[in-house]
Structure formats: structure tokens, C-alpha cells
């Protein structure tokens, strides 16, 4: 059922339908999660497309999300190598987070998700550096 629905989604969702380099191998964080936890999925482009549908598809209601999640988890579990199945729960939780961000920030494409994340990351580490450096001027800088 999920497979059939997702095939339909594959042809109807802008997020996974957009051709060209902009959305190829994006969102990067998805591929990072795949390589970290379930690397055997990397070669299964059809499953990756289904995952993208799950993450980027519009949400009708919470029950639909839960049902889709269960079906996706079953589909992935059936496709994973036994050694990777222990990582499925953490991988699914990461997908939940991506979907949550897509809904909350009203993102439409994998590129937008990457851009949001990069902006957050850059902002945090820049702020952190800045915070660490500021108090040091008075204590260590004797050039004034």
C-alpha cells in the first residue's frame, strides 16, 4: 500500500520530482544518516525516493503520519541487512526529525532543508566562537 501510494507521490510531489542537480543527493543530511546507520540503502535509489516522499509529503493528519511511518519502517526493515536492523530505530528517529523540520518551517525541497540546517550550524558555531573569544580580550589581550 505504501509502495503504491509512494509511486503516486513520486509523480506528484515537487520535493522528489524536481530534476537536475539542485536536488540530487539531497538532502545531504539524509545521505549522511544513511551512510552512518544503514549504508546498504545507499544503492537502493527506489527506497531513498520513498524516504524522501515520507519526509517531504504534506501532512493530512497525525494518524496518517504514524501509519506511513510504520509502513516505511516495515519496508526498510525488510530491505536492510541483519547487521543494520539494530540501527533502524535511530535512523527512523532522524527521519522523524527531518519531517518535523519540514512541517514546522514549511520547507518544500531537500535543498531548503540543507540550507536551513547549514544556516543553523554556521550560526551556532560562529556564535560559540564569538562567545568564547569575547571575554578573553580583557584577560589576555595586553596590547591595549
Amino acid at each position: 500500500m505504501l509502495m503504491e501510494k509512494n509511486i503516486h507521490h513520486l509523480h506528484s510531489q515537487r520535493a522528489v520530482e524536481v530534476p537536475g542537480p539542485a536536488n540530487q543527493d539531497r538532502p545531504k543530511v539524509l545521505y549522511q544518516a544513511i551512510m552512518t546507520f544503514v549504508p546498504s540503502l545507499r544503492a537502493q535509489t527506489y527506497l531513498i525516493a520513498i524516504i524522501k516522499v515520507f519526509v517531504f509529503s504534506p501532512v493530512a493528519n497525525a494518524d496518517c503520519v504514524a501509519t506511513d511511518r510504520q509502513e516505511l519502517q516495515r519496508t526498510l526493515k525488510a530491505s536492510l541487512e541483519p547487521a543494520e536492523q539494530d540501527n533502524l530505530e535511530i535512523f527512523m528517529t532522524i527521519l522523524d526529525g527531518m519531517k518535523e523540520a519540514v512541517i514546522h518551517y514549511q520547507l518544500h525541497t531537500p535543498q531548503e532543508l540543507d540550507e536551513l540546517l547549514q544556516a543553523r550550524k554556521d550560526s551556532f558555531f560562529a556564535r560559540w566562537c564569538s562567545q568564547l573569544q569575547q571575554p578573553a580580550r580583557g584577560k589576555y589581550d595586553n596590547t591595549k
Binding site: A33, I94, D96, G97, M98, K99, F124, Q131
Partner: protein
């Protein structure tokens, strides 16, 4: 709602307290971290490398209790706190970092209930 507001307040307080930390000037995050802690450079690299997955894991883990904006605050506070700790061992993985984040979140939730 009160619980969430307290969480946000506590995370902000943690960030503020870290802001007051006194450390030497350095040109980059890794360098700053390594000066803050002699073994910090590798740790900073580790935390930076896992930032994305940790953030989305947390967003998924707390999707029923916190908004994404609140999760960013939680993760940011956790990373600042984590950077003050000892270097993870060679076998330390993202899963371990997730567990530590859960402990950190539990601590904040518990504190907020006191």
C-alpha cells in the same frame, strides 16, 4: 507549557553561563575549543561532524514535547555543555552522544520540576 518555558529558560541560562567563560583568543572554533581544553580540538571536530544528525535525531525524539526551535536550543546547550567534558573514547559513536543528550534533557526537565 510551564515545563517547556522552564526548559527554554534553563537552556538559555546554560548558554549565558558558558558565554561568561574566560578563554584565550583563537582564530577558529577548533582552535578555541582546543585552548579551552587541551584535548578539545578532536572533540570539537567530533561534535561538529555530528551536529546535523544529532539535531534531527533530537527533533524526532522530542517531536511530541518540544517545537523544533526549542530543540535547537536544547541541542546548542547540550553541545556547549558537552564540549567541557572529557574526550570521547575511540569507540564513541553518535548513538552514545544521543544517549548523553537524553540524560542532559532529563536533567533539565528534572531541574525544571524542582
Amino acid at each position: 507549557m510551564n515545563r517547556i518555558l522552564k526548559l527554554v529558560g534553563l537552556v538559555q541560562a546554560i548558554l549565558e553561563s558558558k558565554k561568561r567563560a574566560s578563554l584565550p583568543l583563537a582564530p577558529s572554533f577548533s582552535a578555541v575549543a582546543s585552548q579551552a581544553n587541551p584535548i578539545g580540538q578532536r572533540q570539537a571536530g567530533f561534535l561538529r561532524a555530528h551536529y546535523e544528525l544529532l539535531a534531527f535525531w533530537a527533533m524526532g525524539r522530542y517531536r511530541h514535547t518540544l517545537t523544533p526551535d526549542q530543540v535547537w536550543l536544547l541541542v546548542d546547550g547540550f553541545l556547549v555543555d558537552e564540549s567541557q567534558k572529557a574526550l570521547p573514547s575511540e569507540g564513541f559513536h553518535l548513538q552514545d552522544l544521543c544517549l548523553r543528550l537524553e540524560v542532559f534533557a532529563d536533567m533539565i526537565f528534572t531541574d525544571s520540576e524542582l
